[in-house]
């Protein structure tokens, strides 16, 4: 068994978080991951805060184990969603896109363990000062909204800068990545893309098929030119068209601001793998089959355990 301070803190068996993916991570996937001993995470950004409350209650009906909710702090619904997770006293809240300082007192009063996703040393230090229990240091090899630092460069620099536990995310899809994360100073991992293809993940089958078909060089980043909204997604008609418009001579921050609107829903819900936005990480090329959440958690942790137990073989 892998041992990690984050497991004791949250009450989970394996130090494996399932990334909170908008339009994708729902109660069923989160409950399956939590039932398997990891930390399932529901995306908090839904049609309404009440829709999230229903998802939280649905997850509770499927598992009595702890699970989390991911909140995008820049989202118009953030205040309402922040209140719902406090009222529902979810075990863990992970946050993206900003500092959770504003909600910290409310969440801590509700007994919530707050774990911000950070993309730099400064963001990690800010999260620690705000009272975060841990941070998820996420590299730009991740799918979805990303920063600039990669996992290999980010995790050790964050681990040196803060004294709270660090969870590594980005570019991790198997036991090799998990064992590497521990060597870099992390005490757990978060995986998004690997759980996107889980059997219990309700994302449209066409989306899963595109991830399973992808190679190592199948992703691109949109939204980089004008900054602030860089996304990693699979090359398709949507991303080609986005990049063409983004890098057109007359493009402006305003002209590209809405290019992605509705595109993730189109891919995840409608299954339009051509015109939809297929957020996915650079490790898509490592994924070749659909498996249950339990198979994923166990195979990743088993492989990491074997590698860590056997690591001394490299020293004569």
């Amino acid at each position: 068994m892998l041992s990690s301070p984050i497991c004791e803190r949250i009450g989970i068996r394996y130090p494996v978080f399932q990334g909170g993916m908008a339009w994708i991570s729902d109660a069923r996937l989160a409950a399956a991951v939590s039932e398997a001993g990891g930390l399932g995470i529901i995306s908090g950004m839904r049609e309404s805060a009440e829709a999230l409350r229903q998802q939280i209650r649905l997850a509770r009906s499927l598992t009595d184990k702890p699970f989390g909710v991911n909140i995008m702090l820049m989202h118009p619904l953030a205040d309402a969603v922040a209140a719902v997770v406090a009222e529902e006293k979810v075990a863990v809240v992970t946050t993206g896109a900003g500092s959770p300082a504003k909600y910290m007192a409310q969440w801590q009063a509700a007994g919530i363990t707050v774990i911000p996703v950070v993309a730099s040393v400064a963001m990690a230090a800010l999260a620690e000062r705000a009272g975060a229990a841990a941070v998820i240091a996420e590299g730009q090899e991740s799918g979805g909204h990303i920063g600039e630092l990669t996992t290999m460069a980010l995790v050790p620099q964050v681990a040196s800068a803060v004294s709270i536990p660090v969870i590594a995310a980005g570019g991790i899809a198997d036991g090799r990545g998990m064992a590497a994360a521990f060597m870099l100073g992390a005490v757990g991992v978060q995986m998004g893309t690997r759980f996107l293809i889980a059997e219990e993940c309700g994302v449209h089958p066409a989306y899963k098929a595109a991830v399973l078909k992808a190679s190592d060089v199948s992703t691109v980043t949109t939204g980089r030119r004008f900054g602030g909204n860089t996304c990693r997604c699979i090359k398709n008609q949507f991303s080609r068209s986005f990049l063409q418009k983004e890098y057109a001579p007359d493009a402006t921050a305003e002209s590209v601001a809405d290019l992605g609107t509705g595109a993730l829903r189109l891919a995840a819900v409608e299954g339009d793998a051509k015109n939809g936005c297929l957020l996915a990480g650079q490790i898509s090329g490592m994924l070749h089959k659909e498996e249950s959440a339990a198979e994923i958690v166990h195979s990743v942790c088993d492989e990491a355990e074997q590698l860590l137990k056997g690591a001394a073989k490299w020293v004569k």
Copy 2:
């Protein structure tokens, strides 16, 4: 002692390569790294092929241990430089920017171990088919010319795709990165930026000072918009101006093609840290002091050994 098949193959003590940095990696630095038990690498791209021959001979006068030469295959001098390394029978040639297939017979006849730098699974497979002894899988967190994949995503995918040894590069500056590389499937590491600040590195002190001052978020990438020539360097007047011109509405591949000409020499030789191009990796933020090449090799390997020997502690 770390044990690795690449050490036996090349006849080095520690599986640590020093990156071949144009205008920076010379005979003195390479000999110091090789004397310390790693693999020193001279940049092959100099004023002339004969200038490289003098560097090779100088290195031989400083060490009787194996060292390497790095050759940029797209460089106008590549043919002449390829002939010199064969005539001088250097121990190792690392190659960048293309396939070394064209020179393979010549180099193998000279007893040279050929190790291409690759940025994707396809490039790694091509190198293996061409007869490479190993590959250096280099992530985009590296300084200098880079691809798109990160080390965390690239190394395991390359390790799964080829049966020759894999050396990891990009984002590695200490024993944590080295131990992580072994977990990902590599059997050695290459470090550029960490050796750039070595005492024996003759790069201008103003360049070293800029690297030592840099934080985790101090690098940017130039040359990405039109593709083919993406470089990671430290934010300064040069890179700001480059990016402004690169992303200007009327920019074209042609208009940006020569923006970097002379800028690396200006930084590395003249010490113009404002108008020169300071190639450096995302781990610059981890580097705080100048040390000898031997101190670097030993401290990185010692830390990696301790981590690998102690890795089993994570398994209860």
